[in-house]
Symmetry: C2
Subunit: 224 residues, 2 copies
DNA sequence: GCACATGAATGCATAGTGTGCAATATTTGC
DNA sequence: GCAAATATTGCACACTATGCATTCATGTGC
């Protein structure tokens, strides 16, 4: 149960990646709708039946398996007493450093998302598992009564993370470590947008404010 | 193009609702997975082929068609110069007052979501159209460069709205007008959770802060 | 009224999805 | 090596979803 077999598991991981690669290349070449599970299986060198042993459906094969928190990370979070958001982000940092991200595969995913925007909901939806885990962590702090709030927070965090993931996939100079930081910055932009009374039309001069200023950093000043 | 036919359109709307009702009752009675499109069609008194003329798939029939902004509302938003969030909420208020919500159907949806939580992603996903429209409105203010931020904001707003919608469905005393207000309050809770350094461990006494205080209202005080 | 265009409902055929089951092959623990 | 556990595969089958042709209802112009 702890350190399970080896050859078997390595094989399993490898074929699951081969299937994903086959699904991605075929979808990019012929369009997502025109690719059948049979074609993916053939490309990956397995039977169609085996395809469904690895992935529940075609979309899951394209997106691949999102990572999830390990028990150690959860334990650390539980014991920490820092600010909620900071602790959540720290847990995500650990998550990302554990999972070895494959930039080339991520690039393929990103390109496919550009080509077939109908897949975007599926892409964000693929983070359901991670989103639920984040919500569970938040509930530990906020209490079960606040589950709806925790889920809303988790949704925002995972969305920001997914966006940043796509940026990372296309920026070779960007380290995986910085993914969480950029996502955190995006969340601060969101916080600014949620601040009531913001977007002040400057009394001074031009009507159109510098849009960059809205997005580049956290929030406009708050009127108490 | 303005006030189109009548008998035809009323019929169309009616059968589309009959189909939804059939889908919901059958799913609640026998479980979502056990219900076939053929059974839904039979229950609604139409052929299976006609079912697919009304809804793209089984899930769409269950959730029904989400409302979307009319041109007038969009125009008003464009001309307004208030704070972004306030204007978006105002547009949503108009949206909800135009669309006649059916509480009994909403109740069925909510009960089904409790019984089959696997439908939750589909439920939130069904707001894609509305979410995209909200994002488009936000982009008008923030500029095309900030589309990602606008979409993140739109996601949060539509999520909060969907949650509130479920509350409204189960609270006969709650008016449809207040949906947007409650959702706005939820967004302020989110803003509080996104505020860095929050969840202050009170220097005074016990380690465990009152969790209610975190969720009941907007945000903890901010340290500038 | 009547003829015609338009849109809706249906049956049929068909491609593709996804699952259960049983047979077979492979890996692992011993 | 050998037996147990696990993976792969083929096959059958139920269901989803779409295209196409036909029939029927509805709305429109004259």
């Amino acid at each position: 149960m702890t350190v399970k077999s080896s050859l078997r598991d390595r094989r399993r991981l490898q074929t699951s990646r081969e299937i994903q690669r086959a699904a991605l290349t075929l979808a990019l070449r012929h369009g997502h709708d025109s690719v059948t599970t049979e074609a993916i299986a053939a490309e990956a060198g397995i039977s169609q039946r085996t395809f469904f042993n690895y992935y529940l459906n075609k979309d899951a094969a394209i997106i691949g398996n999102a990572p999830s928190f390990d028990d150690d990370t959860v334990a650390r979070f539980r014991e920490s007493s820092g600010p909620l958001l900071a602790d959540l982000l720290q847990a995500l940092r650990r998550l990302l450093s554990n999972s070895d991200l494959d930039r080339s595969t991520s690039q393929l995913i990103d390109r496919l998302l550009v080509r077939s925007p109908d897949l975007l909901p599926i892409f964000y939806g693929s983070l359901k598992r991670l989103r639920d885990q984040i919500a569970d962590l938040a509930v530990m702090r906020l209490g079960e009564d606040a589950r709806a709030d925790a889920e809303l927070l988790a949704e925002a965090i995972s969305h920001a993370l997914a966006d940043t993931f796509r940026i990372w996939a296309n920026d070779d100079g960007m380290s995986a470590d910085s993914i969480v930081d950029i996502a955190a910055a995006k969340l601060q932009v969101l916080r600014g947008l949620l601040t009531p009374g913001v977007q002040p039309i400057p009394a001074a001069s031009t009507v159109r404010p510098d849009t960059q200023a809205m997005t580049s950093t956290a929030a406009a000043p708050i009127r108490p």
